[in-house]
Symmetry: C2
Subunit: 112 residues, 2 copies
Amino acid sequence: MPKYHGELDAVLRALADPTRRAIVERLAKSPAVVSELAAPFSMALPSLMQHLRVLESAGLVTSHKIGRVRTVSLRPGALDVLHLWLGEMRTPAEQQADRLGIHLTRTASKET
Amino acid sequence: MPKYHGELDAVLRALADPTRRAIVERLAKSPAVVSELAAPFSMALPSLMQHLRVLESAGLVTSHKIGRVRTVSLRPGALDVLHLWLGEMRTPAEQQADRLGIHLTRTASKET
């Protein structure tokens, strides 16, 4: 079991919900204020805030408040644990294909 | 919303459970028969079979039966939708870093 297992668990549970995933997809483009995030969902603000809390406690988003406006951002490197885990899930055949791909890229670069 | 959204949804829901994730981690090493998969978990066989059904319907694993022995494998490319989605979630700053990394790798290859 990987060391980052607890973090990965929180990230996957957060992303298993389509609304939370849609929020992450929106924030990958740019930070947004809460009202902007709420707009595409026909959802009461308390429900949206609940989703944001789950995303924040999973380390996926951060937010800061200036005056009455709260801006939410995707945390840089937030999805790194998932990248890491996916890398470990490569089957032996896929790892071999990865190495071949790297070799071919390097060879092609040298030839040009 | 990406086109592969339904598939991604099933994959993330399947992986949000730690037992199912542990099964995927085991299968990434090699295919296994059901009794091998059950061994590390103090779990009744019907519960394990239920987890395997969820993984199978999410397209993460396949299984085949020879005689009385059922062998389960990780489906090649099973996690591709997740790779794809993660690629789309790269923030503009991360995408810029990716391009710089590719450029530096190519430059380094040419110099050696």
